[in-house]
Symmetry: C2
Subunit: 257 residues, 2 copies
């Protein structure tokens, strides 16, 4: 699939020259089409294609995530990179996904009851999402990389860490990844982590309310990559400090140039 003009549903030029284009990719099946956004720096052209960073995010809907995503995209553009994101299945304007909603409800119930979160709930919460989203990211990559203004190595950044882990294993076009260790990790993903070989920069919020610290350390240990950095900072889930974002950007500059 290639992105053609009819896939672009809107277009605007941001004040820093970044071109923001919304797109929709057809995805057969009950989970509907895949909306997404592409940001390209003013300098990107067929003669000087920009490397692409895929922006992962939590399943809260693109509308809600937009302010943070556009900030990350502008940062990437300032470093000469394009950035793109897609709506997760069951989020935003995409059709509801009853199984995912059920898993989230079960998680909430367990946490509100003060019960330990079982492996069974974590598996139901994360694995179907990984199975669904990773091929969607690949579909988006196929479409995006056909644009003449995009080219070179691809990075993946943030979002649900299990999705980033699977993508790093199965998608050879991704050369480097910034992963955010702030979500539940199914046991199966630790095994997949051993197969990851690309350079990784793993962000951990030391006081993440989700209590994901030990899981994050275990997952970091499991990654098979020869170059991997754990960058842990103080603060809660949403409190990644500016300088940690800068360090992640420098990681991409080292690896995508």
């Amino acid at each position: 699939m290639h992105l053609t003009p009819e896939h672009f549903t809107s277009e605007q030029r941001l004040d820093d020259g970044v071109l923001e284009r919304a797109f929709t990719l057809g995805a057969p099946g009950p989970l509907g089409e895949i909306p997404g956004i592409l940001w390209t720096p003013a300098t990107a052209s067929a003669a000087a294609p920009a490397p692409l960073i895929l922006l992962g995010h939590p399943p809260l809907g693109l509308d809600k995530m937009y302010p943070r995503l556009v900030a990350r995209a502008r940062h990437a553009a300032a470093d000469g990179f394009a950035a793109a994101t897609i709506e997760l299945p069951g989020s935003g304007d995409r059709p509801r996904w009853p199984e995912a909603e059920q898993a989230r409800a079960d998680l909430r119930r367990a946490m509100e009851a003060g019960e330990p979160v079982s492996d069974e709930i974590i598996d139901r919460l994360v694995l179907p999402m990984v199975d669904q989203v990773v091929p969607e990211w690949q579909t988006a990559l196929d479409a995006l990389l056909a644009l003449p203004e995009l080219g070179g190595p691809v990075g993946y950044s943030g979002g649900v860490i299990s999705i980033g882990t699977r993508l790093a294993v199965v998608e050879p076009r991704i050369s480097a990844a910034v992963l955010f260790a702030g979500s539940f990790v199914p046991r199966a993903i630790y095994e997949e982590a051993r197969q990851v070989t690309i350079p990784l920069h793993v962000l951990l919020q030391w006081d993440d309310e989700g209590g994901h610290r030990q899981a994050a350390l275990d997952l970091f240990d499991a990654f098979g990559s020869k170059e991997k950095t754990l960058n842990a900072n103080m603060g809660g889930h949403a409190g990644v400090p500016q300088f940690a974002g800068d360090a992640a950007a420098q990681f991409f500059t080292r690896h995508l140039r």
Copy 2:
């Protein structure tokens, strides 16, 4: 005590314009005088004094450590910082320190026998060193900061992490510290760590042959600082990657300017 010309025992200008001066500070007592080295960037002057970074290092002797120290000093100078280091007691040309040698011999014996390293050995190995070296660093600071070409906030970088921890607690002139988590940590130091409040950047080599990973994570957790970053990278004790050194340098640029 002020550094006066008679304290400087040699002086040379490196090819990048950095001025390297060896000095000796009088220290009464059986552990003798304190030799040290000061590096100042070509731009440092009384009109534009350079902030100072104290370079910690393991007790292997300044001669042996010189290549790595001068590389760190040149990096600091390129960022506009002066750097200084001192010989540790019992190392290099300083008088032998029988108690420290005994503790190191006991450590070696325990490790070669495959025994767990006892808290008693760790205390004997580290605490007298901390008690002796921290006041020596303070003596050096008194002398160095009297030089008109040095001024502004002071950073501490590297070396035995227990020394850096104690210094961060007791020495108010130190504004920020890069600590290297690669040595045994006495229980008492975890308590002191809670009193540290300055910004910290903690380097950990994930595969440190000394097996210090869990101690490093516990110590990082214990530090009382509101801004602290753990930067963990692959490789053994001596394998800190270049980009981790660059990240530490950026930490100082954020905090000492």
